[in-house]
């Protein structure tokens, strides 16, 4: 008969097996098959690197990749800076207004993406709300945000600032007041307290928030589809074109792997920051 620990192990594996199989089937198998497909030639199925080379040698495709990186990096930077300031405000300012903002700031995320995008379009388009208010004063304000990177970055902030602020607020909330008071007691200025105490303690949460914002925006579709221009395009749209319009499935697989690799860079940064032990955390 099996020993008790052997039985226990079997039971454990048995209970985990269904979930594991589901993950293998729905996540691992498609990824593996997509990677294999990306190395296959469209007509002959032979091994080829052409699908990848296409995206790095065609000028339009290369521009798409760089454009996407530009838009996403700008989104991350602006979202994190604004979210951090918002989180600091919510953490350290004790007033009624701050409390109200604290309960309301997550609301933009609950608006469905399509509605939010159309709402933004109605305001910023060349014939939108801002233009019409300007017309009342005799001004012809054409923001020129639509169909350009600037408009998409503005739209991305709608969804990403609340999310990043939520993560950073959680991190700042974990900093006990006593540390701040201790620093102030020894005469540190507000700025010094921030740079030497608050920032290092919350940097991990900032990195987590940046990673999530980065990864979710690399493949974004709705915003660029409704607000983006024709060239260069965001990678989400380029991918849609490849498999839906041109039905070039092998090239689409290659582009998805490229996007996956771009995201994994940011994931790598996240893992590195979390694994690296800070001096004050060492036992």
């Amino acid at each position: 008969m099996m020993s008790k620990s052997c039985k226990q192990k079997l039971v454990a594996y048995g209970l985990v097996m269904p979930a594991f199989l589901v993950v293998m089937l729905t996540v691992a198998y498609p990824i593996v098959s997509a990677v294999i497909q990306s190395f296959q030639d469209e007509e002959t199925g032979a091994f080829t690197l052409d699908n990848y080379l296409y995206f790095f040698t065609e000028p339009a495709q290369l521009r798409n990749i760089l454009y996407t990186l530009f838009v996403v990096v700008m989104t991350v930077v602006i979202a994190i800076v604004v979210a951090y300031l918002l989180a600091l405000y919510l953490r350290f300012v004790k007033s009624k207004i701050a409390k109200t903002i604290g309960t309301l700031y997550l609301l933009p995320r609950f608006v469905p993406a399509m509605c939010a995008v159309y709402a933004m379009i109605t305001i910023i388009r060349d014939s939108g709300l801002i233009n019409r208010i300007g017309a009342l004063f005799g001004l012809d304000i054409k923001l020129g945000l639509m169909y350009h990177a600037s408009g998409m970055i503005v739209m991305n902030l709608w969804f990403n600032i609340p999310f990043a602020a939520m993560m950073i607020t959680a991190g700042l909330g974990a900093i006990p007041d006593s540390i701040i008071e201790g620093a102030r007691d020894v005469g540190a200025s507000k700025l010094k307290t921030f740079t030497s105490m608050i920032l290092p303690l919350s940097i991990k949460d900032v990195v987590v928030a940046s990673t999530f914002v980065f990864m979710s925006n690399v493949g974004s579709f709705t915003t660029p589809y409704l607000m983006g221009g024709n060239s260069p395009k965001m990678l989400g749209i380029a991918l849609f074109d490849q498999f839906n319009k041109y039905m070039a499935y092998n090239r689409s697989a290659a582009l998805s792997v490229i996007m996956f690799l771009i995201c994994s860079v940011s994931a790598g940064v996240y893992i590195y920051t979390n694994l690296k032990e800070n001096d004050w955390e060492k036992q």
Binding site: L15, M17, V22, A60, R125, K142, G144, H148, D241, N244
Partner: protein, 390 residues
Amino acid sequence: MKMKRIIALLLATMMLALALSGCGSKKSDSSAAAEGGKTTVNLWATGSDNVRSIFETLTNEFNTNSEYADKYEVKLQFMLSGTGTQTLADMLAAAAKAGQTNTDYDLVDLSGDDLSKVMSLVGQDKFVKLDDSKIPNAASVSAESSVTPDYCQPYRGTTVILAYDSEKVPTPPATMDELVEWMKANPGRFAYNTPGTGGAGDSFVRSSVYNFLPEEAFTSDDEKWVSEWDEGFEFLKSIHPYMYSSGGSIVYPNKNQGTLDLLNQGEIDMCPNWADMVLSQRASGAIRDSIKITQIEPSLTGSLQSMVIPTFGSNEEGAYAFINFMLSPEAQEIMVRDMAAIPLIDSSDMDMTGYEDLQGLDVSNFRIQSIGGLSTAFNERWDNEIGTLG
């Protein structure tokens, strides 16, 4: 304790079994007798959401009020468009090639482009050659499909037209040349959507390019025409600087709705669009009343929506009955009212209030385009040559 463990294991196994059975293949609906001696007719269709709701109205009407209500029951199998049509064509081809018989593909609704795709994938001998004596209402239909006319029955028309703001453009251009002159006199006031994102833009660019080619090219998917597109693409490049622009660069919006929104907002004065979209949105108040439609010469493409009966279906009589119903005045009126479709029977005794514009669209003048698989090469060339002009 032991009992708990046994129950836990049993639950786990049961859940696994349930999960796996959920992944099993679905049983195909046999068209054996439904309730009350009625036989089932499975109708396969694809399109956007307004097409789905219209088919639901029509099948309900057929199942409850029509003369066939106690003999047949039509079940709608609808696939929302996007990549839907590719899949429907593939599904038919797969069933045909596997030599299946008595499947549930009793009746299939296809647009002109999909019809030629399916016919070339499957072959017309897999479809029933329609016996007109079984479709009495077809006698009043003069329109005929350009692809395999004996094997399909058209029941409604759709067309791309020029939508324009009648307040800004009191006399719209009547020919393509006049349109180009208007574009040059009014730069930035015309737009068409990126091909591949909506049929209106597709129609405009293909009409423009194929205007330089002989007529038979427009319904051919022969690769030899690809090299003859150069003149057409030069034309598209030449009108590019006069298109709508925003923030300093020329913009081709995505989706048919993209250009219609611009027109409604007054950012442009003219755009190609679908007749049924413009008319039904105008009737519901979503776009202004001053927006009107017109056709130009040579016309932007239209297409006929047709029905086919696969020989590997299982209810041919029921399929004929439904086709006959679709051509009846009641059904045609539903289609006019609910989706501004162009009726194919004589509309003089139908109630056309709000849709009189449809009567002015002559179906016999329709330019049909069905270039089949060449459309992907076409869209890719547009994206590379025109889309990147910025």
